[in-house]
């Protein structure tokens, strides 16, 4: 049984095809990253998994429960941290969490609510009205709300958007702990470095299609090459290096190297052409580069 199983899911809004036949399966215990540019369909897919949006075609199961036919069980299995910083201004932090717990059919859930608040450093703000909290604190409450019913699968939709570095680090360490405790984590993020750090597997969406789905290490291996960034005084790249050119902005050139040994050939080529290097930077492949290339490739 998969934690989340998405089969041939399509979603159309009139003429707009938001999702065009997406299929993927997430194993229990994974930290899975869902990446893609704005408008790629990430939030639409998550909304379909959460039952907030209905798919035009295809099916989605959470821990084996269909999100339409068996929606009660599917929703109990799922905790969602929404992307928007939403809150109910009428209530305190504690009330917010108690209500959320009650919506999932749980009474006398105070001990777990205390524990969740403790882990998220919310205990001191228990009686504070939601309106009075900082953005970071509100974000923590959103995470706490997703956890009050102890769901085995947790979806975090851009949980660190607009969050300061300290809270971001805290949230990621909390995510790791949740995963360690057996929760399956699905997250969308724009911080690719963090996705690289946290996610065992990554799916990339573009224009409603899944354009990559593999382990993070395999994706990085796919683009093993190094990037050499140069600034040249004569703004002219020797002809024998033209095949390595990835990008150019004025006098700045980005070249591709397959390994460190090729650096020597590039330097020789530049010396023979009489070029002077003004700036020099050698970068190993990262997820951001992989992301950009995959997006370019599937354009």
């Amino acid at each position: 049984m998969y934690a989340i199983e998405v089969r041939d899911v399509e979603k159309r809004y009139g003429a707009l095809q938001a999702l065009a036949g997406v299929s993927l399966a997430i194993e229990p215990g994974e930290i899975f990253g869902l990446l893609g540019p704005n408008g790629a369909g990430k939030t639409t897919l998550i909304s379909i998994v959460a039952g907030l949006t209905r798919a035009s075609a295809g099916s989605v199961k959470v821990m084996g429960a269909d999100v339409v036919d068996d929606y009660r069980r599917a929703r109990r299995m799922l905790g969602v941290v929404p992307q928007e910083l939403v809150f109910d201004p009428f209530f305190t932090v504690r009330e917010t969490l108690e209500f959320q717990s009650g919506y999932f059919g749980l009474r006398a859930n105070g001990d777990w609510i205390d524990e969740v608040m403790h882990h998220l450093d919310l205990t001191a703000k228990s009686g504070a009205n939601m309106r009075t909290l900082s953005g970071g604190m509100k974000r923590r409450v959103l995470v706490a709300q997703a956890l009050v019913h102890k769901p085995p699968v947790i979806v975090l939709d851009e949980p660190t958007a607009g969050v300061d570095v300290e809270l971001r680090q805290g949230l990621w360490s909390f995510v790791r702990r949740l995963n360690h405790d057996g929760h399956t984590i699905v997250l969308t993020t724009h911080y690719l470095e963090e996705a690289e750090l946290l996610c065992g597997r990554i799916g990339m969406l573009k224009a409603g299609r899944l354009v990559a789905l593999d382990s993070t290490s395999n994706l990085l291996k796919t683009f093993r090459g190094l990037q050499l960034k140069l600034r040249l005084d004569r703004e002219k790249l020797p002809a024998q290096l033209a095949s390595r050119l990835l990008a150019r902005e004025g006098d700045r050139f980005t070249l591709e190297l397959h390994d460190y040994a090729e650096l020597e050939q590039v330097l020789v080529g530049l010396r023979q052409a009489g070029e002077t290097i003004l700036e020099f930077e050698l970068q190993p492949p990262d997820l951001e580069e992989v992301f950009v290339r995959i997006m370019d490739r599937s354009a």
């Binding site: 039952g51 939403v86 959320q100 717990s101 999932f104």
Partner: protein, 251 residues
């Protein structure tokens, strides 16, 4: 069941936390109506032979407050939740559309009853009131508040902006309540307006409620009961159909 009870309690607590606005303000408004209209028209208007105008006015004002607040509660709660986005907290859990409907309607009825009792308590000092048929009064208060609370659910789900809801409230609910015989008996109207008033379901709610106090009404209470129950049944079916489809809630 816990999900339903939690949502119901949350909705009650929501209006209770701002009771000055949701309870005290409508009571004061009704009291002002009584003082102004009662003072201005007492002695000039006699609707039923044995009943003074101020006494005639009180049940109408109570019921008008009940109906307007039943509508205001569900509609304003839903549109606020939609616009601020916190409706997602109710849509993510396994709450069925029936539970959703029941919680919003019942909580609105609670507010309507609290306001109605408040208006009654504030105005009863100015008039001699009897309860000729209390069961009819309670029945029409229950049915009327349920109809307007249901209509509030529809309006709250339909409206995307506050001004759309305000339009619904000002151009539909307000005229229907003001032209329903709160301040007059429809027998005092020209024939044409009498006929038009009979197409206004709120007229039957107020007329039936008033029968509970005086034992006299423009229409037999059993007939009003049938009209109001039919309205409630039709509106409930339509609302449940919309909720089941996820109209404007689940895209």
């Amino acid at each position: 069941m816990t999900g339903f009870l939690t949502l119901f309690c949350k909705e009650v607590l929501r209006f209770w936390k701002v009771a000055f606005q949701t309870i005290a303000a409508p009571v004061l408004t009704a009291l002002l109506y009584l003082l102004i209209f009662g003072q201005a028209l007492e002695g000039h208007v006699r609707v039923y032979e044995s009943i003074r105008y101020t006494a005639f006015l009180v049940p109408g004002l109570v019921m008008m407050s009940v109906l307007q607040n039943a509508f205001a509660n569900s509609s304003s709660s839903l549109i606020q939740s939609k616009i601020t986005g916190n409706i997602v907290f109710i849509l993510l859990p396994p709450i069925s559309y029936l539970q959703f409907f029941g919680a919003y309607v019942l909580a609105s009825m609670v507010r309507a009853f609290v306001v109605g009792l408040g208006v009654l308590a504030a105005t009863v000092w100015f008039v001699d009131l009897s309860l000729a048929a209390p069961l009819w009064a309670i029945t029409f208060a229950l049915l009327g508040s349920a109809v307007l609370a249901t209509l509030g659910v529809v309006a709250g789900i339909w409206a995307d902006k506050f001004d759309q809801l305000a339009g619904f409230q000002n151009f539909v609910i307000m005229p229907l309540t003001f032209l329903s015989g709160v301040f007059y008996s429809i027998h005092s109207l020209p024939q044409v307006w009498q006929a038009i008033s009979r197409f206004n379901p709120i007229f039957y709610m107020i007329d039936g409620f008033r029968y509970g106090f005086f034992g006299v009404s423009d229409v037999a209470p059993a007939s009003s009961f049938i009209v109001v129950v039919a309205c409630l049944a039709g509106l409930t079916c339509a609302t449940l159909w919309l909720l089941r489809r996820g109209y404007k809630l689940r895209s």
